[in-house]
Symmetry: C2
Subunit: 207 residues, 2 copies
Amino acid sequence: MSGLREKQKADRRRRILEAARKLFAKAGPDATTIEAIADAAGVSGVTVHNYYGTKSGVLLALVAESDRELLEKMARELPGQSDDVIDLARRFAAIIRDHAITFLDKEIWRQVFAASIAEANSRFGKSYHSLDHQLALVLVREIEVLQARDAVSPDVSAYDLGKAIFSLQNMRFVNFISFDEMTDVESDAAFLRDLRSIFGALPPDRR
Amino acid sequence: MSGLREKQKADRRRRILEAARKLFAKAGPDATTIEAIADAAGVSGVTVHNYYGTKSGVLLALVAESDRELLEKMARELPGQSDDVIDLARRFAAIIRDHAITFLDKEIWRQVFAASIAEANSRFGKSYHSLDHQLALVLVREIEVLQARDAVSPDVSAYDLGKAIFSLQNMRFVNFISFDEMTDVESDAAFLRDLRSIFGALPPDRR
DNA sequence: GAAAAATTTTTTAGGCAATAAAAAATTTTT
DNA sequence: AAAAATTTTTTATTGCCTAAAAAATTTTTC
C-alpha cells in the first residue's frame, strides 16, 4: 500500500492554490494565466487543469477556503445579537457582504457567482453550495432561539424560514455585486424593504 | 444623413441571431462555433463578436427574445387566477419554469444565468435584467388587485413585495436548473415551503 | 456625379483556455 | 530488481476572444 502518492497530490493541490492566491491578488484572475499559476506551483499547466478543471474552478476552490473563515466569523458574530427576525436577517446579510468585499472586488465576485452556477455539478461547485448550506444553518439556529423567545411564530419551520431568508439575502447579494456603484448602505435598505414587505404581507385574518 | 447603414446593421443582427437559433437548437451552444454562426449568417466571425461580444452574449440575446414571449404569456395567464398571494406566487413561478424548460434544457439555462451575472453590465446583460423587471411588474399589478380585495395588507408596498417574491422565485429557479434530477413538482413544493414559512413567520403581536 | 471623408467589415495575427493522446517519469507491487 | 500501475509532462489541436491593419462600402462634400 501507499501514502506517498496521496501526500504528493495533497501537496500539489496546496501549492497550486497558494500560487493562485498570490497571483490573483496581484493581478486579478483575468490577467493571471493558468501557465503562470502552474509555473509558480512547480507543475505543468495540464496538471492544474487535471486538479481543478478550469480557471474558475481554481477561483471557486479559493473562495471555498475563504468561506470557511466566513462561516467561523458568522458563528462567532451572529448569535445572540438580535431581538427580531428582521434585525437578524440584516446582520446576517451585513456579515456576508462585509466579508465578501474585504476579500475580493465585485467584478471577481460576479465571476465566482457565475462559476458557481455554471459549474454547479462539479466538485468545487458542490463544495461551494455545501458552505452556503452551512451558513444558512447558522441562521436557522438563531431563528430557533427567536422562536423560543416568541419573536417568531412556533408554527413555522425554522429550517424552511432560514433557507428562505438565505435565498432573499443571496439575491440581494447578487444585486449588490452586479452594480459597481451600489453601496452596502443601499443594499441594506433594499433588503429591509424586502423583509418588511414580505413579513407584513398577510393581513391578520389571513394567517 | 443616412438609413442604409442602419438598415444593414439591423439586418446583420437579425441574420446572426437567426443562424444562432438554428444551430444552437440543432447541436447546443457548446458544439456550435462562432465561426459556424458567422458563416450561416454571411458575415465574418469578428463581426459576430463586434455585434454580440461573446458567444454567451449571442445566447443572452436569444433568451431575451424568448423572454418577450414569456412576458406576453405572463400578462395573459397570470391575472385574475389567484385568491391569495401564495397561490399567485406559485402560478407565477410555474409559468416561468414551464416556459423555460420548453425553450431550453437545464444545462443551457445554467450557462444563461451565469452569463447574465458575469455580463450584468453589458448591453445584453442589461436587457435581460430589464425583462426580469417587467416580469416582476406583472406580479406587482396582481398584488395590487389582491390588496384591493383585502387578501394582502394595505400597509405594504406592492412593488416591494412583488420584487421580494420575484427574488425568492428566482433563487428557486436557480435551484431548479442546478440539479438535473429536480422535477417541477419538487421545486413547487420547495417554493411553497419558502412562502409559508416566510409569510407565517411573525406572530400576530409582532406585526 | 466624382472625389474625399467617414464608417464598417474583413483579414491577419496572436494569446490563452481547454481537451486529448502519446510519451516520460515515478511510485507501487510482485 | 523487474514488472505493473499510476501520474505528470509533452505535444498537438480546437476555438474564444482581442487588436490592428487592410479592404470595402456608405455618406458627405464640392
